[in-house]
């Protein structure tokens, strides 16, 4: 018995065309993942990044063209979907339109030959879990999107899978309902202790719910880390830009530990970077400030420029500043915070400050 629920070893998937007229498309290239039991794991990336293909390979709807896929330590290559110990919640729910709620939820138990009394009690138990036990006789067409979502969840959970796969399950819900379901699903996952593999393109959703996140782009896994690590310590340019808002500044390593940004130099650790190399510095809009502040961790970096625009967006105010180097950066200041620069108007000269510890150096 292994502690790893799902493991992917050098898994690749390419879709060739049957006629051979078009080139093969690499949907997923050389993926390695190990997802421990009981983890809420998220595959995050834009559409076409291979996250859904990866999920479909775990479910058994697609077979990898190379590599090995293991579920609970057993090689799943060639094992059809109906013999795998996983269940899926589909993006469009995929409830059977000709069956009522109870028969939809009972479908998995029925085809496995679970006797009627046990089936009924387990269906009721699963529907209670998602608070849908009062809708037992309804047809899917008589349910709202959120209710269909809950039934789809119950239909998967009733089979007590060791891994639950969720393919953008909240895509069709409105924002308020989506936020409610996110919290509810997270609580449910903790209570049941089932491994969840969740696919989404919504970075906020991924950060809210996950224990760990894999950022995917163009069929590759770029980074696997917990939400804090993904947000605060991105390792790739794509990951830094995709998750949250990010400012990018061009810089060059002059000598060990000293970088040049425009005509300024700053001291930053430069392990593994060759002198003369061009790098990108990534810094969050909320890490920038209009006034110098005290920070014990690291020295401050000062950047001078001209304020171009300030936009009020509720909780924050967002400033667009054109630096003297010609690059544009965004600054985010909380409206309830202490350092609100009330005196600035468009076209004013200003200085931005940032703690050098908040700067990420990206080499690719």
């Amino acid at each position: 018995m292994s502690d790893i629920a799902v493991e992917l070893r050098n898994v690749s998937k390419s879709f060739g065309s049957t006629s051979g007229a078009t080139a093969e498309i690499n949907a997923v290239s050389d993926i390695n993942l190990a997802i421990p039991n009981g983890e809420f794991f998220t595959l995050l990336g834009p559409s076409g990044c291979g996250k859904t293909t990866t999920l479909r390979m775990i479910a058994g709807f697609e077979q990898p063209t190379a590599g090995a896929l293991l579920i609970r330590g057993q090689n799943m290559n060639g094992v059809p979907a109906h013999l795998r110990p996983v269940n899926t919640v589909f993006q469009s729910y995929a409830l059977f339109p000709h069956l009522n709620v109870a028969d939809n939820v009972g479908f998995g138990l029925d085809v496995k030959g679970v006797a009627k009394p046990e089936r009924q009690s387990r269906v009721l138990e699963a529907l209670k879990l998602v608070q849908m036990d009062h809708m037992i006789g309804r047809k899917p067409s008589e349910l709202s999107g959120g209710q269909q979502q809950r039934v789809a969840l119950a239909r998967a959970l009733v089979n007590r899978p060791s891994v639950l796969l969720l393919d953008e399950p909240f895509g069709a819900l409105d924002l308020k309902l989506r936020k409610e379901m996110q919290i509810e699903l997270k609580h449910m996952q903790r209570r049941l202790g089932i491994t969840f593999i969740f696919v989404t393109h919504d970075q906020e959703e991924a950060l809210t719910m996950s224990d760990r996140i894999a950022v995917m782009h163009k069929g590759r896994v770029l980074q696997v880390d917990d939400p804090v690590g993904i947000y605060e310590r991105p390792t790739t340019l794509f990951g830094a830009g995709f998750i949250g808002e990010m400012n990018f500044l061009k810089a060059r390593l002059i000598e060990n530990g000293r970088f040049a940004i425009g005509d300024r130099t700053i001291a930053l650790p430069s392990t593994g970077i060759a002198p003369g190399a061009e790098v990108t510095l990534a810094l969050r809009p909320e890490a920038l400030s209009f006034a110098p502040f005290e920070n014990a961790k690291a020295p401050l970096l000062q950047l001078d420029g001209t304020l171009q625009e300030s936009i009020y967006i509720g909780t924050d105010r967002r400033y667009q500043v054109r630096l003297d180097s010609g690059e544009t950066v965004f600054v985010r200041i909380q409206n309830s915070g202490r350092h609100i620069p009330a005196h600035l108007s468009n076209g004013d000269r200003c200085s931005l400050y940032c703690c050098t510890a908040d700067i990420r150096i990206l080499t690719e």
């Binding site: 479910a59 709807f61 059809p80 109906h82 995929a94 059977f96 339109p97 479908f107 085809v111």
Partner: protein, 278 residues
């Protein structure tokens, strides 16, 4: 303060023409087309109640011709032959059509597109060509003309229609429903009988009824493939015409119209119930 119109007199005239003439032209043409379709049928049904032997001059009301229809042994037998052939050939061609449609929609295999196109060939080939070819083929194989040869020929002409109907429905069937069933542990057999088949049942019933109707009033194929003692209704009616037209044929026609209407109502009734439920 007088308001002047932004439209010129010419524009006003054009708008009036478009609204009053062109707008009414389309319904008028449609109405004429419907009259052309239905007036002969109404006349046919009306004269089936005519008391005299004429199908042109009205001389009084009677049900006698309907009695004549049921008394005619040859006619009864022809009706029975047609019903058996329509039922069996529709059953066979719906089964073939449904499975072919699923294969074309669901499976990927070399020559799939060619097969899908080739299947429509019987719809565009002249029926008489196929009938002659089939007759020559059957004679060569020493097959006695009768029920078997007629069923084969009717399956041949109805399969494309059955395939087309089921194929259209199967293509719009959400693929994920079958994946969801597999995900929940159903094997191929269970997926078919618990998900695919129930969801495709309405188009399959439609395909069956269309195939049965096409077979029931087929004339060309039957002319070549029917044998001694297995004359179907259309051929029987044609041979009766040679002996002179009587309102008995009108009565028979009226009964066939009634049968078709009942079938349509039966199919529509299912849909109607669904609509009313919502």
């Amino acid at each position: 303060m007088s308001e002047t119109s932004v439209l010129t007199q010419g524009q006003k005239t054009r708008i009036w023409i478009e609204a009053n003439l062109l707008g009414r032209l389309a319904p008028a043409v449609t109405l004429l087309a419907y009259l052309f379709l239905f007036v002969p049928i109404v006349v046919l049904v009306a004269y089936s109640f005519n008391a005299s032997r004429s199908t042109v001059v009205w001389s009084g009301f009677t049900f006698d011709w309907y009695g004549e229809v049921f008394k005619d042994r040859g006619l009864r037998q022809a009706l029975q032959v047609s019903a058996i052939i329509a039922f069996v050939s529709a059953l066979v061609s719906t089964a073939i059509g449904a499975l072919t449609a699923l294969a074309i929609v669901r499976r990927r295999f070399p020559g799939r597109d060619a097969l899908a196109t080739l299947l429509l060939a019987p719809m565009v080939l002249p029926e008489i060509v196929m009938a002659v070819a089939l007759l020559v083929f059957m004679v060569a194989l020493n097959i006695t003309l009768g029920y078997f040869s007629m069923i084969v020929s009717h399956v041949l002409i109805t399969v494309p229609f059955a395939t087309l109907i089921v194929r259209a429905a199967a293509a719009s069937l959400d693929r994920r429903l079958e994946e969801a069933a597999a995900d929940l542990g159903a094997n191929e057999w269970q997926i078919f009988w618990r998900v695919t088949f129930p969801l495709l049942l309405p188009p399959i019933v439609t395909a069956f009824l269309l195939a049965a109707t096409l077979s029931f009033d087929n004339f060309v194929m039957s002319t070549f493939t029917s044998g001694v003692g297995t004359t179907p209704l259309p051929l029987r009616i044609y041979s009766m015409l040679k002996l002179g037209i009587t309102p008995k044929i009108n009565a028979l026609g009226a009964l066939m119209v009634l049968l078709n209407v009942l079938v349509v109502v039966a199919v529509m009734g299912r849909h109607l119930k669904l609509i009313l439920k919502k």
